[in-house]
Symmetry: C2
């Protein structure tokens, strides 16, 4: 799947990923009202609204982008119907040829971690049959529990040729509380980055590992260091746009080959129509606003990479 991700990036010339994190407040009134008319103001109605919202954005952008990253929390908040919309979104994006990174940030130990890996990346045995529950292509994983939490994911990745992105240095203001703490003079995130490189060496694609890392766009200097610590790992970079990161901050997340990073934008793309910059599209044409926001983001990153 890392090979397919790279292929998709080369095809689109867009090292970006659209975060499908649909807050109900992002969904234009006409979409909400149509869903509520059919299902009522219920969890099913909310799930229908975010699914229709996603579908229109995917239809308007899929030819420009290599991948999407649905944030499962935004679906999980609507209970079981939300999870139905999540699975439907994953399946639809895959039909459109997109790589799907499930932003699930799971992490546990042993058989429990294996159950997460199976549910999201693998197949579960039921009697004589096998089923893929949520069937994402990649998943994000929390490293706090150490190798016992990560190795079951590696096993499933190897079997299924799928991948993971491990949280190393997250984009939020308080990420330093634990991640920046110095251990023998070096921050914890570097130690985690070294483990990512080590775990990743066990599961290599053609040029990059199945094991990537999450490093926030909001910490470009740390990204520069981590790029060197994990040369064969793709870095998934959140924090672009709404969280403050810009194209010029991102150049050091990439390798010399122009690969090695994929930059996420969620709100900046899917709720573009709410920004002054894209206001002329109007809430009716929210998906067109998203398309324009994708084009602008790709140009920003491309410009920054060419100028380096």
């Amino acid at each position: 799947m890392i090979n397919k991700l790279i292929e998709n990036i080369k095809k689109t010339n867009a090292p970006i990923v659209v975060g499908l994190d649909p807050m109900l407040s992002y969904v234009p009134q006409q979409v909400q009202q149509k869903a509520f008319a059919e299902y009522g103001e219920t969890l099913e109605g909310a799930a229908e609204a975010i699914w229709q919202f996603n579908k229109a954005i995917v239809d308007a952008t899929y030819d420009l982008i290599p991948a999407v990253k649905p944030q499962v929390a935004m679906y999980e908040q609507f209970g079981v119907p939300g999870m139905v919309a999540y699975e439907k979104t994953v399946a639809y994006c895959q039909e459109k040829g997109l790589v799907v990174i499930g932003d699930i940030k799971r992490g546990d130990i042993g058989s429990t971690s294996e159950a997460y890996a199976i549910g999201h990346l693998g197949q579960v045995q039921v009697g004589s049959k096998k089923y893929a529950g949520f069937h994402e292509d990649f998943a994000t994983v929390n490293p706090y529990l150490g190798s016992d939490g990560v190795k079951p994911f590696l096993k499933v990745c190897k079997e299924e040729k799928k991948g993971i992105f491990i949280l190393v240095k997250t984009s939020n203001p308080s990420s330093g509380e634990f991640q920046d703490q110095l251990i023998d003079g070096r921050p914890l995130y570097e130690l985690v980055g070294e483990k990512v490189a080590e775990w990743g060496s066990e599961v290599m694609g053609d040029s990059y590992s199945y094991v990537g890392a999450v490093v926030g766009a909001t910490y470009p200097e740390m990204g520069k260091v981590l790029r060197k610590v994990m040369p064969k790992s793709f870095i998934l970079v959140p924090g672009y746009g709404a969280q403050g990161g810009q194209g010029k901050d991102l150049v050091h997340f990439f390798n010399e080959d122009g690969l090695g990073a994929i930059v996420n934008s969620s709100r900046g793309i899917i709720a573009a129509y709410k920004q002054e910059k894209y206001a002329q599209f109007g809430a009716e044409n929210y998906a067109d606003a998203s398309r324009q926001a994708v084009l602008d983001m790709v140009a920003d990153i491309d410009g920054a990479l060419k100028a380096r």
Copy 2:
């Protein structure tokens, strides 16, 4: 909800929690076959099997225990039907008067963490209505992202009078890889424990905080230290039984008042019928074996606490 947990513990005199982590391999053949006869060898069939398995164990033990801890990964592996079984299990245990600790180990930032908190402990707004998606009473939370990840949970806990248990020192062999790293001479888990005490001071029940901690039974000496670092936090203690912890290892997790800890056993209770010790019950009477295993666990811990 921390008050209700304490009340339930006093009523049952059992500071334990039964981990409802149903691997399909724990579910006796007759239960699987009945479910598959009705739904086929499908995800729905598997979900029905684990639900019926859970229900029988809850029916056989609910009068002896204060709380259960379903591990969501074991349900999530069966996709959407698994999540239906999870929600059904949560609701059924609550009907029986049990406190439900959702072992979800979620953790993200800002609005995403809030979405998890809302989906599992709170209520989501849909138009003019509100719905509680998975409605657990407590949830486990991963601290790697720092305060930005935890505070949205605190907000929802305050509103709903619910609680969380934050991973501090997990029970697995490799938990030390990151958690034991020394920062200014003190391990990371202590620093996390201090933050738990700080976060917990904002949301106090009558005698204990809404914010508890997870500390593995397999690390009794660390439990002793952490007990002092977080005097007002309940400690959820996994690792008893199958993972090697015993009653005598657990005494230092408790405060002088005999409270402050709740010990989890999963496999040791729900798959008791597979142990030689309980083999006389047979697979037919698996729920009775679970009941006996609960009685034995309570006696072991009670004995250890009396002997201290």
